[in-house]
Amino acid sequence: MNIPQELKYSKDHEWVRIDGNRVTVGITDYAQAQLGDVVFVELPEPGTEVSTGAGFSVVESVKAVSDIYAPVSGTVLEVNEALADAPEIVNQSPYEDGWIVVIELADEAELDELLDSEAYEELLAEGGQ
């Protein structure tokens, strides 16, 4: 299971890449493997306000519908339009090309609540939930 060290993680299996007051968000390698073949991603509109723990996107595999929860609060700046026509990118490249949104942070302090790669690895070892 690939868990890049430079990223932060939520307990709901989203990853966060921090770049100043902007963060890029996607789902982890573990999450995409659990879902199986992703065939649809519902993207929010840029400008949408999101709050920590609330669903802002939906990723669907052949059999499952899975809510994606915001790991931080803020405003959606960009969405990965490529996923509209090629949702399988989430499986193929969960941490790079398969990013879902870029969020402008409302409160940088929220980043401290996220897990580092070691803590996320531990979470998975405990059974993933």
Binding site: G36, D37, V39, F40, E42, V58, E60, S61, V62, K63, V65, A84
Partner: protein
């Protein structure tokens, strides 16, 4: 009730199967991935464990008369070693189950029923057998079943048996033959919309048979296939799944499988209601649709026309062979015609859809 394991449970783990519970059974939803397995079955071959299915033997002088009463298709039309698909209905026309009947001889029939319905069907068959000279035996626990499906299924099977299986016609069976040295009953049947075979064998020989078939299929691209692609394959072929397109409150006429309801035979359970629906048309129908807007319809989602709910999605999915998001829905009959538009409510949004012809997928050739 704890979920049961088929005789192939350990084999599934060995092949990397991702286990889920289905109809009270622990079965693999996928091995390599649903899309890959789906493609293998359409283009090459896939091997399924369907040991969860139930089997009932009906034997006796009144076996035919009994079956004519409980199922809707014409069992008398069968000859020895023929298989037949049929719904089984309640007197009100609702569906108890859909099943396969194999005629072993004039007085002996082998029924294959849905896993989740075994107990219910067994009760129903027993209740209905009063007054008939028949003996019913529930063989579910002592029968394992494998399905080898796909255009290369025949080629693979020919390497495992001396019997000229290429001569076996669609919906015919061989009551006993050796496959990889093991005694099986073999039929040319399936639930994928492809050519293929189903094997019934002893539970303690199922794992051996599985390995032998996988080995023989290696050069042909055979893949182990899970429940996930079994569902997408049958769905593209618009084959009904009990609990979705058929249920105690959905008749076979509403489900669009009226050709398996034989009104020209003697009286049977549900006849009056089914005859009326066949003559005048049912009030609701299963319609096939494609979403013309973005989204995936799922079972249970409402179908909306001009702000009013006119039906419910029974199965919806991305269709791997068609590469479209399609569905089946039970809707008021006037909205079921090809070209009709309506909307499917997905997470509060109304996504446009259009009724298209069923089945969505039809294999070339035969």
């Amino acid at each position: 009730m704890t979920a049961m394991k088929t005789p192939l449970y350990e084999t599934h783990l060995k092949y990397g199967g991702k286990i889920v519970e289905f109809g009270g059974w622990l079965l693999p939803v996928q091995y390599a991935g649903i899309l890959e397995e789906h493609k293998a079955v359409r283009e090459k071959a896939g091997l399924f464990d369907v040991s969860h299915m139930g089997e009932v033997l009906v034997k006796g002088l009144d076996a035919l008369a009994f079956l004519q009463k409980v199922v809707t298709n014409d069992v008398a039309a069968m000859t020895d070693h023929k298989a037949q698909y049929t719904p089984m209905c309640y007197p009100d026309g609702g569906t108890v189950d859909d099943l396969l009947i194999y005629r072993r001889s004039m007085n002996e029939y082998f029924l294959v029923i849905n896993a989740a319905n075994i107990e219910k069907d067994w009760q129903w068959l027993q209740e209905n057998s009063a007054g008939f000279a028949v003996e019913l035996t529930n063989l579910s626990a002592e029968t394992a079943e494998l399905a080898l499906q796909g255009p290369l299924a025949e080629t693979i099977l020919r390497t495992l048996t001396e019997v000229p299986v290429e001569q076996l016609g669609y919906y015919w069976f061989i009551p006993e033959l050796l496959v990889a040295g093991k005694k099986v009953m073999l039929s040319r049947t399936g639930y994928t919309g492809e050519d293929g075979f189903e094997f019934y064998c002893r539970p303690d020989e199922a794992a051996f048979l599985w390995e032998a078939i996988m080995e023989a299929g290696k050069p042909y691209g055979l893949m182990p296939a899970g429940l996930g692609c079994r569902d997408t394959l049958r769905f593209e072929a618009a084959l009904p799944l009990y609990g979705h397109e058929l249920s105690a409150t959905i008749t076979p006429i509403e489900a669009g499988i009226g050709k398996f309801v034989a009104l020209d035979k003697e009286d049977f359970n549900g006849r009056a209601v089914l005859a009326e629906q066949k003559q005048n048309g049912p009030r609701r129908k299963i319609a096939g649709f494609v979403l013309t807007g973005r989204g995936i319809a799922r079972a249970g989602y409402p179908v909306i026309y001009e702000g009013r709910q006119i039906g419910t999605v029974t199965t919806g999915s991305y269709a791997p062979t068609l590469e479209q998001n399609i569905g089946l829905a039970l809707v008021e009959a006037e909205y079921a015609g090809v070209g009709q538009t309506f909307a499917v409510e997905i997470r509060g949004k109304h996504i446009p859809a259009e009724v298209i012809k069923k089945p969505f997928y039809h294999r070339k050739g035969k």
